[in-house]
């Protein structure tokens, strides 16, 4: 059995460096599977916004990661919620164009195991498939138990979620 740090050393997961301003402390962490890292490095830079907005999908991700890792309030209301629960302790972190699926190994520590464009997921009904992909990846990791925070309470998985 291993901790997430042990798994990072072996390359089973990788941590995203949020490149925060030097005055901002990294209060939340984001790790990715090797597949998601490859997608972020090779596929994401080529993708364009479905909504044709100024921020490309990779730029949207950069902004969301800053908010997440800096420990900013994650949600100001139900209508502006970037975090959504699924079954089996799987959560979805989203931007206008992107959906990232993963789990919280500890409070404020998110591991992404699947990611894609929102329109592709909706058009092809891929939500269940990606939730399953996350669960299979998590099951295959030699991670200390409990491997994830169960339930669908956002206050249990992130600090400063805000809205009740």
């Amino acid at each position: 059995m291993a901790t997430l740090l042990d798994l990072e050393r072996t390359g089973a997961v990788s941590r995203i460096d949020p490149e925060l301003n030097p005055r901002i402390q990294e209060l939340r962490l984001i790790y990715t599977s090797p597949g998601v890292q490859q997608w972020i490095e090779q596929v994401l830079p080529t993708l364009e916004s479905t909504w044709k907005v100024e921020e490309s999908p990779i730029e949207q991700l950069t902004a969301l990661i800053e908010i997440f890792c800096a420990g900013d309030t994650l949600s100001f209301g139900w209508q502006f919620n970037p975090l959504r629960p699924h079954r089996n302790g799987v959560w979805e972190l989203k931007t206008a164009d992107l959906r990232m699926f993963g789990w919280f190994s500890a409070k404020d520590c998110f591991v992404v195991a699947a990611a894609d464009m929102a329109d592709r997921i909706k058009d092809h009904g891929l939500y269940a498939g990606y939730v399953g992909q996350v669960v299979r990846f998590r099951d295959g990791l030699d991670l200390d138990e409990p491997k994830f925070i169960s339930g669908d309470d956002p206050h249990a998985v992130v600090s400063d979620f805000s809205y009740p």
Binding site: S14, I16, L20, N21, I40, E54, Q60, A63, Q79, T95
Partner: protein
């Protein structure tokens, strides 16, 4: 294995973070006004003469938001947008480079005023 970075130029990173911070400040103000006096997106849309779906898309990042619209939204919420460009300040002993500057901030002050400002960093 070391951590990895997302490949975005510093200037675009700054732009994305600034746009995000402005949008979040408006979201926060709207939620505050909704709690305080029941203000809805529909009310704001009516006040500035657009369909509610336009406001919704802009607030959710599905439509670009112009500077003019920022001012209109602030006005409809009874708030004042304030934009600042403070000079960068160097930190003695910091190894932070100009090219690394990426952060921007926006915050709401005094409950009625929206303050935007670029972050400061060492030269």
């Amino acid at each position: 294995m070391p951590s990895f970075r997302i490949s975005v130029t510093p200037s675009r990173r700054a732009a994305a973070r600034f746009i995000s911070s402005v949008r979040r400040a408006i979201q926060k103000a709207l939620v505050e006004e909704e709690k305080k006096r029941g203000l809805k997106q529909t009310d704001i849309a009516r006040a500035i003469g657009v369909h509610r779906s336009v406001i919704n898309r802009e607030l959710k990042g599905r439509k670009d938001i112009t500077l003019g619209r920022v001012a209109e939204l602030a006005w409809a919420m009874g708030r004042v947008p304030i934009f600042d460009l403070p000079i960068e300040q160097a930190n003695v002993g910091s190894n932070w480079r100009r090219a690394d500057i990426a952060g921007t901030q926006i915050s709401i002050v005094s409950g009625k005023r929206i303050r935007t400002s670029t972050s400061t960093a060492a030269g």
